[in-house]
Symmetry: C2
Subunit: 396 residues, 2 copies
């Protein structure tokens, strides 16, 4: 009798697990200073307020919150989100055009599920968010990386790529991008919205860092320039309230959302109600804006400190100069490789993520990503001193 071997689906062959998963084993060890993850700083997590709110919510409407909820989301939150999104992203939606997701990652997953056939072409910034690359690979999309500069995606190149590849979707993080920290300029936002409509390309506008601005002016979303409903805005409360609550949203045409809702029904039925209601209280009671205001100086000081340290390291060819977000991206000379630096830094108790995995096309071994939100200011000083020493030893 022949025993069959377990065979996984074809989609799994493109998924090796996040290249940086191994790094996080180091990070969780005590005493390690992490510039590796994308975690909010501990000081920015409002646990006492959430404790009070969750207790009040459960005592006043626990019978509703503990019951099954609608796949579309908790209705009061969909309502309050309409106002929040207009204020923050300058884009108008009815509550019918808003779907609550279990983090903004799920928004991209659902969008891929309803749109992407194996082999379909998706354009992305390069480098871009690792989770997005994994997600696109899980749907066997063909990823075409876009060129950009310090103002984000180059719209002329984008148009060329659209004409050449007829992509199904563009995935972009326009504000304080992960991993670069770069922000797409106002003019380019408008231009990209027009290109999407002109050529019929869905844009997944992933904007979780939008409110974490430490200098300069807030920009309207790409979606705010959308006249033809090709753009879907993905948002999250992970970076401004708590990632552990897993509450995000997608906002776009009802046509697309209807399909996403059908999929979400047999993915996780709905996002946890209590978690949605907590976010709703933050929005309705005006708690979010002052909370964000209270955490910005701490993040801004951390970014400034890290940028200052970086500017004093001669081996660094250039680094991005973000005005917000969580990340700075660093380049050495093109013939360098950060692998020995990575090992040396780990040995001294400092973790970062090499840049290469963020590039869909690979290469770029002379780059790395630094996160400044997770470590304390003191640890940033200490960690950057160690990193500077390691750079001097390992990079020329």
């Amino acid at each position: 009798m022949e025993i069959r071997e377990l065979r996984f689906a074809q989609r799994m062959s493109g998924l090796s697990g996040s290249a940086i998963r191994e790094i996080f084993k180091y990070v969780s060890q005590p005493g390690v200073i992490s510039f590796a993850g994308g975690n909010p700083g501990t000081f920015a997590l409002p646990y006492e307020e959430v404790a009070r709110i969750s207790s009040e919510l459960l005592l006043s409407q626990g019978k509703v919150l503990l019951q099954y909820g609608a796949t579309e989301g908790y209705f009061p939150l969909r309502e309050s989100l309409a106002g929040y999104i207009e204020d923050t992203f300058k884009a108008r939606f009815t509550s019918q055009e808003i779907l609550i997701t279990s983090g903004s990652m799920q928004g991209l997953d659902l969008l891929c599920k309803v749109l992407i056939n194996p082999g379909d072409i998706v354009l992305t910034e390069s480098p871009t968010f690792l989770g997005a690359l994994q997600c696109l690979n899980a749907y066997q999309a063909q990823i075409v990386p876009l060129k950009g500069d310090d103002e984000g995606i180059d719209p002329d190149y984008l148009e060329e790529m659209i004409k050449t590849h007829q992509p199904k979707m563009l995935y972009t993080i326009p504000t304080f991008q992960n991993p670069t920290g770069i922000t797409l300029s106002l003019e380019r936002r408008e231009r990209i919205a027009h290109l999407a409509a002109q050529y019929g390309v869905v844009v997944a506008e992933d904007d979780p860092y939008h409110s974490l601005r430490y200098s300069g002016e807030m920009l309207p979303s790409i979606k705010s320039f959308d006249r033809s409903n090709w753009i879907v805005l993905l948002g999250s409360f992970s970076k401004v309230i708590s990632p552990g609550l897993r509450v995000g949203f997608m906002a776009g045409s009802e046509n697309i959302l209807r399909q996403c809702i059908i999929c979400k029904q047999c993915v996780d039925v709905h996002t946890a109600n209590l978690n949605q209601a907590i976010v709703d209280v933050y929005l309705r009671q005006g708690l979010l804006a002052p909370h964000i205001k209270s955490i910005l100086p701490g993040y801004g000081a951390r970014m400034a400190s890290m940028l200052e340290s970086l500017s004093a390291i001669p081996q660094i060819k250039r680094c991005t100069q973000p005005e917000g977000g969580l990340f700075i991206f660093v380049f050495f000379d093109e013939d360098q490789d950060v692998a020995p630096l990575f090992q040396a830094a780990i040995d001294k108790g400092v973790a970062f993520v090499p840049g290469s995995p963020f590039y869909p096309e690979g290469g770029h071994r002379h780059s790395l990503r630094l996160n400044f939100s997770s470590a304390s200011l003191e640890d940033i000083h200490k960690g950057m001193d160690i990193l500077t020493q390691c750079i001097q030893k390992t990079m020329s």
Copy 2:
């Protein structure tokens, strides 16, 4: 200039949205008595206890719970689940073999994602859970329905179907099945475990109703007979604590779970920490067993009342006689159609779900599903009186 039309992925063509979604519009109207959903009774939702626990958890470890968590799940819960699963399902797992999911629906979704290529064959009971059918359709599985009787799947027929179709997976709800309430007998559990190993078929054993037994003896899971690790146990706290919290688990071989974890990372990153920690407190502090004990009599009385009403209706050919769970399945003569009854009942303010959508092969328009957990005992009396009248008017 030709404007492209938005085209959805091929997988969406098999997904029309749940056939019973429309029904739930009626159900949410005030005054309607619902035998339609699968909601726990309001009396069974322990909101005061969850309020206390969540407040205590957030005040004592809010900085951890509001932060990102591990994709595998909150470690204390994976530990406490190992003991719970052994007690409840008589199957042993290390915490490494347990993945926390956002409800057991997500367990099936992840399993499909890692295993199913379009066209792969999946065996299911017929009728079976609508969400599972939707999920399998989303992965473009070819569903082959299995014959069974009052003891569940017929193992001889199962073996024949395995030989004929070489399926990738068997999806089964062995205990108080949805929609029938039927429980797979002990002998068949053992036999199915052996068939899975003999022919190399993954079994998704979905057992969310296991603890809701109102008479008879608890049975060990199919997994408890598994010697070759082809069986993955899917569980949920939706029916015994709260569906709104969205906490479930999957337990199986590390080989399969590793792939599921990779997928979950780019689906929802992790299940909300606070929700996992609440379930962990229920398990660790021994709160779950007494809570379940306290709700069983209420559910048992509801089921008994409904079965008694059904036995007095001459038009009913037969109905299942469950020993637990949430559902009773009802058959009229084969030439009957419940569509007029459905409309008549809705008009009188009583909702149920016609049986046909639960059958992968369709047909069976002479059947319907009744839920007895959601309505109060008083409403069950009232609703069954109305239903009896409607049956007398519409069915022969």
